[in-house]
């Protein structure tokens, strides 16, 4: 599983860089022809259980103010996972090299997390399963030149990821009560993780 995830992310990144180098020579935002774009992001997800890092690569095509791409990343909030998603962005110029944009990402979230089980946990097994991934927010883009597509981006948004965990729990006999027929008890945890998302990106 780990190898597959790493391979997918590496492919997304390499393809993105490759296309980006070939297509980003003399482009501007808001152009009417279809153009490839690749953006690499680093950031933080910050929610109830604290802040955690995340990285993403989003690669796709832009036409006019619209961008549609696919993304993959690593999200360390609460449980390490790999979001795989479709990204839609709408740009709006506010200056010669300044742009605002809205983005919405939606897809699936693949867990890459193994619970460390200690005897005190009373758990005999734990398996994580994937779920939905959503994020959205507002961004600011600053182009590095008048005739380049290279730009630095900042976003502030909100992200939601869902994960499911199947556990087999072990229960001793409750004090002063009879033991149930089996000490093993299956349990299903559904996690809805909500966090603010702040990211810095580089587009080329």
């Amino acid at each position: 599983m780990r190898k597959v995830i790493v391979l997918m992310m590496a492919c997304a990144f390499v393809v993105g860089v490759g296309f980006g180098q070939g297509a980003g020579q003399s482009t501007s935002f808001g152009q009417s022809h279809v153009q490839f774009r690749s953006t690499e992001w680093v950031g933080l997800s910050s929610g109830e259980v604290g802040s955690a890092g995340q990285v993403q690569t989003v690669n796709g095509v832009a036409k006019g103010p619209w961008f549609v791409g696919v993304g993959a990343g690593l999200d360390y909030y609460r449980f390490r996972s790999v979001p795989l998603f479709l990204s839609v962005t709408r740009d709006q110029a506010i200056g010669k090299r300044d742009w605002l944009f809205l983005y919405v990402d939606g897809g699936t979230n693949v867990p890459w997390y193994t619970r460390t089980i200690t005897p005190e946990d009373n758990i005999s097994s734990s398996t994580f399963h994937g779920g939905e991934y959503w994020s959205g927010g507002l961004g600011y883009l600053w182009k590095l030149g008048d005739h380049t597509s290279k730009a630095i981006l900042f976003t502030a948004g909100y992200t939601v990821k869902k994960l499911k965990e199947d556990q087999t729990q072990m229960f001793g006999c409750p004090l002063a009560n009879p033991c149930p027929p089996t000490p093993f008890q299956p349990a299903v945890f559904e996690y809805l993780c909500r966090a603010y998302q702040f990211m810095i990106g580089f587009r080329f």
């Binding site: 933080l44 910050s46 929610g47 109830e48 259980v49 604290g50 802040s51 609460r78 005897p119 009373n122 600011y140 600053w142 630095i152 900042f154 502030a156 729990q169 229960f171 409750p174 004090l175 002063a176 009560n177 009879p178 033991c179 149930p180 027929p181 089996t182 008890q185 299956p186 349990a187 299903v188 945890f189 559904e190 996690y191 809805l192 993780c193 909500r194 966090a195 603010y196 702040f198």
Partner: protein, 427 residues
Amino acid sequence: MRKKVSLLLSALVVMTGSLLILPGCLKDHVTESYQIYEPVYALKTAVLAGINGDPGTPVSQTGQIYVKGSYIYLNDPDKGIHIIDNSDPSNPVQTAFLNIPGNLNIGIRNNILYADMYADVLSIDISNVHQVKILGMVRSFFSSRVFGSDTNYVVANWILKDTNVTVVPQGFVLIPNTNYVTFPSALAAATYSLANSAAASGSASGTGTAGSTAVMTLVGDYLYAIPEEHSLGVIHIADSTNPTQTSLGMAGYDLETIFPIQDKLLLGSKEGVYVYSISNPAQPAKVGEFTHGTACDPVIANSNYAYVTLHTGTYCGAAANELDILNARDISNATLITSYPMTSPTGLCLDGSLLFVCDETVVKVFDVSNPDNLQLLSSVPVNNPNDVIAANHVMMVVAGGGLYQFDYTDPSHIGKLSYLPVNNSKL
């Protein structure tokens, strides 16, 4: 350019501030769904009246094993006792089932079977296994299994209930219909307690052979047992219609098994082996002790040697997985002769110079003629073997998957005779 940098710096300051301030506004949402067993209580009188169960009742789980004559008595933990006609070990036949809720232990003297029903000990006439009779009862003997305040009730069944709780925030759960939180295990215990409160307001002669993991044994007119993990209790059973508890006292720490040898009792504990004299059978007296590292350990012995298996695990400690052989000529001053490494040994038994040891995925058969140099004769594949009784060339193995029987006429070439599987679909 400077204006841009200022703008970006401002944005960074705002984002950093947001990271510090905003997360408190967000809450993750975690739900836990599980099934919980809820006890169904019944009046003891009704339970005792219905103790003759359906002989076709499948074995849902294997527990203690007891052999007397041509019958095997197999405990189905907390459900009862399967009586199996083993006249032909290659074709054992389930002939009766004694529906005794809370049963874990078995002992037979003459045609009287002694069995626990949670905390109580019943004496049952099994002259006719299809129509047994309850003769007497010692109430609340197994003190660790006294449940609830009304001892007229016992748990006769369990029902599964789906449960769904909200976990807030990490590891805690919401108490239903409140804004208070607690640990999931505390909530489960509370559910049991509530159910508990609600229900309470509402042919041959002599003894047989028990497995090495037994916590109850019969010697002469007395029944000896470990009623809770630190005590040794004695019941006088000369009059089976009126069994009477004669003594109960602190006997050691973390007691697990009991094995009679001549006029002694060997009590296996997590810390070692306690030796009690039953020269005065009504009042056992401690005469020796052998200690080892913390591990679970059944113990058996003959007149010369005692054999102890140690296994580690969550509840057992982590001392060792091994077979210890003790010099037992003076059992009161037993000394370690040697140890042999094992994988995860549990029950064991002796037949002459043959030693049988359950060890995780096999039953090992040793020639113990020379304790300093055990000879492994066979490793019989059995998954999760728990206890073994061997006699008359038939080895009976209680394992997680059922009851296995093997022919060890030639200990180097052991052949399977039969297998009675568990069917735990009706838990």
